[in-house]
């Protein structure tokens, strides 16, 4: 179904970014207001389009009146509807935290909206080169946001991220180049037909697959391509690390999903089983190593970052296995991870503001002093481990179920093993927070000692609300997962049918 309003999903935040600059010239207090209004509009638009796409089937639009496959096509199908709504909702939520926690200047809000535009574009585009452009737009905005902490460390982390991210996007572009040489088209739907005609065992097609997977896997931070990620998450301002940990890698993993299932299609995996096996091995390695590295971290933000490496491994394993249950599990885990990790990073940032605590040991006794903050964080951690009925459980369950159905038993065993490791590092943190005697920094925050003087004595209302909302959402999503399955079934059936 054609719909002329689809491009607004990208144009809205883009226009908002420009308006933010204009508003910043008039009044210093205006940019956050413009940004909030833009994102409220984006949530409404994404929700409206998304619900229509889920109920009535995919919406598409040939931008500028050039029809596909010659022009750029934007498509909202079931899965992109979910992702684009997730991007809109989470970015609005984190924006409130950003305004409350470390309000930046005009540039900060402009970059923020540019990032939302880039991520929304990646979610709805149906053109592989257009995806590259949006990948770079969101990349550029992310590097600038990471560096917006203003410290030297954050500049180093941003530069490292820039070097990795650019090489990743360039490798993706090289893959697109091979596909273009093989087929002469860039439209995703058209590519899937023409790649089959060229033959899946053609060296051009295989090379394009390899480059594209490596490029997007770097963006999604799979081991061993993850080395940019812990520094970027750790050294960015608190609100930015919450935002990018929740969304940037998520959308990169979604792009990988789009490429695997819309462009290469399951028929490619049938024809070239070694590609699937390689992807499964690559992702499993990421699950294991990510968990192990998370266990040995002493800083909480770094622990959360390495935990993401392992969670994205889980998502990619689901995508690679390719049974309906596993792919659905991957999408659920993608959404669930965004909500839970975003909430946990907001919590880590809030704890840092309150007590200055950054390491696992310094978290000791936190829950006694701040029961709501501690309780909601613990809930999010348990959801991340995969305790039912939270969404972390639902995602892992479907992926493991898919693995068992596909007959790849070792993967199911590894998912179980990694869950134990996740349990290990999160229970350690929970034990510190609830059982251990208070650490010096928490005590200082309690009796207003020398470290507590310039710090707020209670968590800010906005941050606390966001963490509690994230915890509630993690459980509600877990309970609503069967509804989501029904809603996504037509989309996934079409994608997995060929």
């Amino acid at each position: 179904m054609t719909d002329t309003l689809v491009p607004l999903l990208v144009a809205g935040p883009l226009l908002g970014a420009l308006l933010t600059v204009a508003a910043g010239l008039l009044d210093d207090r205006a940019p956050p207001v413009v940004a909030v209004l833009t994102l409220v509009g984006q949530v409404g638009l994404a929700g409206w389009m998304g619900s229509r796409a889920l109920l009535d089937g995919p919406l598409s639009n040939g931008v500028g009146g050039f029809v596909a496959p010659y022009g750029i096509e934007l498509v909202v199908d079931g899965v992109s509807a979910v992702i684009v709504s997730l991007v809109a909702l989470v970015s609005l939520g984190v924006l409130f935290y950003a305004v409350d926690d470390d309000p930046g200047g005009t540039a900060f809000y402009t970059e923020y909206l540019l990032l939302v535009a880039g991520l929304s574009g990646m979610s709805v585009t149906g053109d592989v080169f257009n995806l590259y452009v949006f990948l770079e737009i969101s990349g550029l905005a992310t590097y600038a946001l990471v560096a917006s902490a203003g410290t030297g460390r954050s500049a180093v982390a941003a530069l490292k991220y820039l070097l990795f991210g650019t090489v990743a996007a360039s490798l993706y572009l090289l893959g697109v180049g091979y596909a273009l040489v093989a087929t002469g088209t860039l439209n995703m739907a058209d590519l899937s037909v023409k790649l089959a005609q060229v033959g899946y065992d053609s060296p051009l097609v295989l090379a394009s697959f390899g480059f594209i997977v490596v490029g997007l896997a770097t963006k999604a931070a799979l081991f061993p391509l993850h080395t940019w990620q812990p520094d970027a998450y750790n050294d960015a301002p608190d609100s930015v690390s919450a935002f990018i940990s929740a969304l940037v890698s998520t959308v990169a993993a979604y792009a990988l999903f789009r490429l695997l299932y819309t462009v290469y299609t399951p028929a490619f995996f049938e024809a070239v089983p070694v590609a699937r096996d390689a992807l499964v091995v690559f992702a499993t390695l990421s699950i294991v190593v990510g968990s192990v590295l998370a266990v040995v971290q002493s800083e909480v933000k770094r622990m959360l970052a390495y935990s993401s490496v392992s969670q994205y491994g889980l998502v990619v394993v689901g995508l690679a296995i390719g049974t309906p249950a596993a792919v659905f599990g991957a999408v659920v885990h993608l959404v669930g991870h965004a909500v839970m990790k975003g909430g946990l990073f907001v919590a880590a940032g809030t704890v840092d503001d309150l007590t200055g605590a950054r390491t696992v040991d310094e978290y000791a006794g936190l829950a006694d002093r701040f029961p709501v903050l501690g309780g909601a964080s613990a809930l999010l951690m348990l959801a991340m481990v995969g305790v039912p009925p939270a969404v972390g459980f639902a995602g892992k369950w479907y992926i493991a179920l898919g693995a068992v159905r596909a007959g790849t038993w070792p993967v199911a065993v590894i998912i179980f093993g990694s869950t134990l490791l996740t349990l290990a590092y999160f229970t350690l943190l929970i034990e510190r927070m609830f059982v251990a005697p208070a650490s010096p920094s928490v005590r200082a925050a309690t009796d207003g000692g020398e470290r507590g003087l310039d710090r707020p004595d209670r968590p800010s209302r906005v941050a606390l609300t966001l963490i509690v909302v994230a915890a509630v959402a993690a459980i509600a999503l877990g309970l609503a997962v069967t509804n989501l399955q029904v809603a996504l079934e037509p989309t996934l059936d079409t994608l997995l049918a060929t």
Binding site: E136, L159, L162, V167, L174
Partner: protein
């Protein structure tokens, strides 16, 4: 082999540029040189696209009234690379901006020196 060099030399240029770019990024410990390596790497990709557009005896794709006049060189990769060059320039600008910030904070552009400074922090 000789024939490969004489007829497919553009692809050899691509490979050489990609290799030089990656090598510079890994080998050099100077941030500015790393960024130069990144640019060389991207240029390799640009050359790859442009080479892919080539058509034997192809002319510039200006269709005369009434059509015909082919064969034409494919215009699509040129347009794509025009976009990619713009992206590359913006990336270089952001990267150099970060390099300036790093130099202001730590007084060095050398990766090894910087990691020593950061370890002492």
């Amino acid at each position: 082999m000789i024939e490969l060099v004489t007829t497919r030399y553009a692809y050899l240029v691509v490979v050489v540029l990609l290799a030089i770019g990656v090598y510079t990024m890994i080998e050099s410990s100077n941030f500015v040189k790393k960024i130069i390596g990144l640019n060389i790497f991207q240029t390799g990709i640009f050359v790859f696209f442009i080479t892919g557009a080539y058509h034997v005896n192809g002319r510039s794709p200006v269709v005369e009234s009434g059509g015909g006049g082919g064969p034409f060189v494919s215009p699509l990769p040129h347009v794509l690379i025009l976009t990619a060059i713009v992206v590359g320039v913006s990336l270089t600008a952001v990267a150099l901006g970060l390099v300036v910030r790093i130099h202001e904070s730590y007084g060095t552009l050398n990766e090894d020196t910087l990691s020593e400074v950061l370890a002492d922090d």
